[in-house]
C-alpha cells in the first residue's frame, strides 16, 4: 500500500480553461496516508468521482502532480499504477468462474500458475468466497459480485490503494451492512489505503477514519467525523453532515455577542475583526439548540415536533427561516410560541460561508 500525495492538482472540463468555473476539480493539495481509510463525501457533481479517477489514472489531470510514495505517476496509465477500483455496479467477467475472475489480473501479468492458485485461495478466504470459486460469476448476487470486483483488486499483492466509487449503490439495503463490514475488515487486516467515494453521509461517517468533503469542485473540509460534526469549516459541511443539518442564521457581531434580529446571543469567542462586506452567519447544530417555553432566548414559532424516540426535534421558524432544535424531556411544548437557546460553546461564526475562528475572550476560562 502506498501514501498518495496530490500536489497542486486541478482538472478542467476542457483543455483551455479560462476561468475558475471551468474546473471540475479546483486546485488542491492533499495527502492520503498509507493505510488510511478515507471517505470522499459530497453531493452529485461535486467532483469526487473525477478526483477518484485522477488518482486511479482513468483521467489525467489538467494540472498538478500525483505521487505514489514519492513516485510521480501523473502521466502513467492506469495499468501501470497498480491500484484497485470497485465501481458502482459490479463488474465481473460473465463467462468466467469466480476463481477465474480473481485470477484474471494475475494471468494478464503472467504470474506463474501455482502462485496464482495460492493467491486466489487466500483472497477467496479473506472475502468468504471460497465456497463459490467454481461457480460462474454471473449467477451470484450483487453483493457477492462486488466482493469479486474487490477481490480482483486485492489479488495483486503490491496494490497501491483501493478506490471505491459508491460501491453499495446497487446492493440490497438489508445487505449493505454485510459488504460494509467486509470492507472495514479488509482495511484492518491488510492495512490498506482505501478511498471510498459516496454521497451518503452515513456510509462515509461509519466507514472512514477521515472524511474529505467536497462541494462544487472544492475540498471544503478534511477531518475526522467528530471534527466535521463539531466544527464544520464551511456552512455547506454543516448542512450536509448531520441529520437534520446545522441551522444557519444571518446575524451581526459585536465583539463577543451576536445579534439576531436584535436579540443578543452570547458567544464563546470574540470576533473583533470580520471581513468587510461579507455575509455574516451564525451556525449551530440542532443538537445544541434547545427549545424552551417562551421567555429568555430567541423567540420562535413552533411549526411541528417530531418524536424520534431517542429525542424530540422541533421544527421552528425564526425570521422566515426554518430551523431545527432539540426539545428536552423536561420541556412541554404548548402552542406556537417558544424560545430557542444555544449552547455558546457550540455556536460558530461564518463569513461568506467560511468558519471564522475568532479569539479567546479576554478574561474568560
Amino acid at each position: 500500500m502506498a501514501k498518495i500525495v496530490l500536489e497542486k492538482l486541478a482538472d478542467a472540463y476542457n483543455a483551455q480553461p479560462r476561468s475558475e468555473r471551468e474546473f471540475a476539480v479546483k486546485e488542491l493539495d492533499m495527502t492520503w496516508e498509507q493505510g488510511g481509510a478515507y471517505a470522499l463525501l459530497g453531493p452529485s457533481g461535486c467532483g469526487k468521482t473525477t478526483l477518484l479517477n485522477i488518482i486511479s489514472g482513468l483521467v489525467t489531470a489538467t494540472r498538478g502532480r500525483v505521487l505514489f510514495d514519492q513516485r510521480d505517476v501523473t502521466l502513467l496509465p492506469t495499468e501501470a499504477r497498480n491500484i484497485a477500483q470497485v465501481f458502482q455496479f459490479p463488474v465481473v467477467y460473465d463467462t468466467l468462474t469466480v476463481g477465474e475472475n480473481l485470477a484474471f489480473p494475475l494471468r494478464n501479468r503472467k504470474v506463474p500458475r501455482d502462485a496464482i492458485k495460492a493467491r486466489v485461495a487466500e483472497i477467496a478466504r479473506l472475502l468468504d468466497l471460497s465456497a463459490v470459486l467454481d461457480r460462474k460469476a454471473r449467477n451470484l448476487t450483487a453483493d457477492s459480485k462486488q466482493k469479486i470486483s474487490l477481490g480482483r483488486g486485492l489479488v495483486r499483492a503490491d496494490v497501491a490503494a483501493i478506490l471505491l466509487d459508491e460501491p453499495l449503490t446497487v446492493i440490497d439495503p438489508h445487505l449493505k451492512w454485510r459488504l460494509r463490514s467486509t470492507l472495514k475488515d479488509i482495511h484492518r487486516r491488510l492495512n490498506a489505503t482505501m478511498i471510498y467515494v459516496t454521497h451518503d453521509q452515513t456510509e462515509a461517517l461509519t466507514f472512514a477514519d477521515k472524511v474529505v468533503v467536497m462541494h462544487d469542485g472544492y475540498v471544503v473540509q478534511t477531518g475526522t467525523p467528530e471534527e466535521l460534526f463539531n466544527r464544520p469549516a464551511h456552512t455547506f459541511v454543516g448542512h450536509f453532515i448531520g441529520s437534520p443539518g446545522m441551522n444557519v442564521l444571518p446575524c451581526t457581531i459585536e465583539g463577543a455577542t451576536a445579534r439576531i434580529d436584535g436579540v443578543p446571543v452570547a458567544l464563546a469567542r470574540a470576533y473583533p475583526v470580520l471581513p468587510a462586506g461579507a455575509r455574516i452567519e451564525l451556525g449551530v447544530r440542532p443538537e445544541f439548540a434547545t427549545l424552551r417555553a417562551r421567555g429568555a432566548g430567541l423567540p420562535v414559532r413552533v411549526r411541528r415536533v417530531d418524536d424520534l424516540g431517542r429525542v424530540r426535534i422541533a421544527r421552528v421558524e425564526l425570521m422566515g427561516r426554518a430551523l431545527a432544535a432539540t426539545v428536552p424531556d423536561s420541556v412541554e411544548v404548548g402552542g406556537e410560541e417558544a424560545s430557542l437557546v444555544f449552547d455558546p460553546a457550540c455556536v460558530h461564526v461564518y463569513a461568506d460561508g467560511h468558519l471564522v475562528s475568532g479569539e479567546a475572550i479576554a478574561g474568560a476560562r
Binding site: 482513468l58 477500483q85 465501481f87 463488474v91 460473465d94 463467462t95 489480473p105 494478464n108 449467477n139
Partner: protein, 296 residues
C-alpha cells in the same frame, strides 16, 4: 409485466389473425392440395398421394436430382455467407466510431445497402461486375484474371457472394453495434485496471455481451440466405447453366415457369419444412444456452 387473463383480448388480435390466416393458411392449403394431386391438363386433377414427395426425395429421379442439387447449392451458399458476414460484421462493429460526427455518418452509409430494392442490388452488381462497363469487372480483367460472371461458374459464385456480403453485412454490423453500445464504460475501465489485453477484452467482455444480438443476426441471415431469390436472379438468372440456381429460383421456375403444379407444391412443402426444422434446431440451441444463464 403482470398480464391479466382476459379472453376478450382475442378481439384485438382478430384482425391480425384474419389477415395472416388469409395470407398464409389459404395458400398453404392450396399448396398441400396440389402436392397430392396430378393433372391431365385442362384442370382435371386426380389423387397422387405421396407420389410427388417420393419422386422429389429420390436422388435418382430427375426431379429428385434437381431438388438435391439446388439444396446443396443453397446450403453451401448459406454456409459461405455466414462464415464471411458474421466475423466481418463483428469486426466492422468493433471499428465503428464511438461518438462524434463519425457515428451518424457511418450509420447513414452503412444503412444504405439495406434500403435498396433487391432487384436494384442485382442491377448494381450486374453493371459493376461486367468487364466492359463495370469498374470491378474491368479491374479484375486487367489484372489478368479470367473473370466473367455470365460464363464462368466460379466467377458467378464469387460475384454473388461478394454482392450478398455488400448487401447484408451492414445489418450484422448494426446489430452488433447496438449490442456493443450497451456495455457500460466501467467494464472497459475495470479491464484496463486488470491489465487485460485487447483480445482478452474482446473475448471476456464484448463477445459475451453481443451473444443475444449475434444469435438474432445469425438466424436472420441464415433464413434469408436460404430463401434468396431476387439478387442472384437478376444477376445471373440462375446461370451459367444451373450453377447458381438456388432453391427459391428453382421453385419459381418450376411453379410459374413450367406450371408443374404438383412437383412445385411438393417442393414448396419440403422446402418450408427444412427451414422450419433448421430454425427450430438453431432456436433450441440458442435458448438453452440462454437458460443456463439464469442466476441461481
Amino acid at each position: 409485466m403482470n398480464k391479466i387473463q382476459d379472453q376478450r383480448a382475442w378481439l384485438l388480435v382478430l384482425p391480425v389473425f384474419a389477415l395472416v390466416a388469409f395470407s398464409a393458411v389459404i395458400p398453404l392449403m392450396t399448396v398441400v392440395n396440389y402436392s397430392v394431386q396430378d393433372t391431365f391438363g385442362n384442370n382435371q386433377f386426380f389423387w397422387n398421394g405421396i407420389g410427388w414427395y417420393q419422386e422429389l426425395l429420390d436422388p435418382k429421379s430427375q426431379l429428385g436430382e434437381r431438388f438435391f442439387d439446388a439444396l446443396w447449392r443453397t446450403l453451401l451458399f448459406s454456409a459461405i455467407i455466414l462464415l464471411i458476414e458474421i466475423p466481418l460484421g463483428i469486426g466492422v462493429a468493433l471499428c465503428m466510431p464511438r461518438d462524434g460526427i463519425g457515428v451518424a455518418f457511418s450509420l447513414v452509409i452503412m444503412a444504405l445497402p439495406l434500403l435498396i430494392p433487391w432487384n436494384v442490388v442485382g442491377t448494381i452488381w450486374q453493371i459493376f461486375a461486367r468487364t466492359d462497363i463495370g469498374l470491378f469487372g474491368y479491374a479484375l480483367s486487367r489484372l489478368g484474371l479470367d473473370y466473367n460472371y455470365t460464363l464462368g461458374i466460379l466467377s458467378a459464385w464469387i460475384t454473388i457472394i461478394i454482392m450478398d456480403v455488400w448487401h447484408w453485412t451492414s445489418l450484422i454490423a448494426l446489430l452488433c453495434y447496438a449490442g456493443l453500445k450497451s456495455i457500460p464504460d466501467a467494464y472497459y475501465q475495470a479491464a484496463r485496471i486488470d491489465g487485460a489485453s485487447r483480445w482478452a477484452v474482446f473475448t471476456t467482455i464484448q463477445l459475451p455481451k453481443m451473444r443475444r444480438v449475434l444469435a438474432i443476426a445469425i438466424l436472420l441471415r441464415f433464413m434469408d440466405s436460404f430463401m434468396i431469390y431476387t439478387e442472384p436472379f437478376v444477376l445471373t438468372g440462375g446461370g451459367p447453366g444451373n450453377a447458381t440456381t438456388f432453391l427459391s429460383i428453382d421453385l419459381v421456375k418450376l411453379a410459374l415457369g413450367q406450371f408443374d403444379l404438383g412437383k412445385a407444391a411438393a417442393m414448396s412443402i419440403v422446402y418450408t419444412l427444412i427451414i422450419l426444422a433448421l430454425c427450430w434446431v438453431f432456436w433450441t440451441v440458442a435458448t438453452t444456452s440462454e437458460a443456463e444463464r439464469r442466476p441461481t
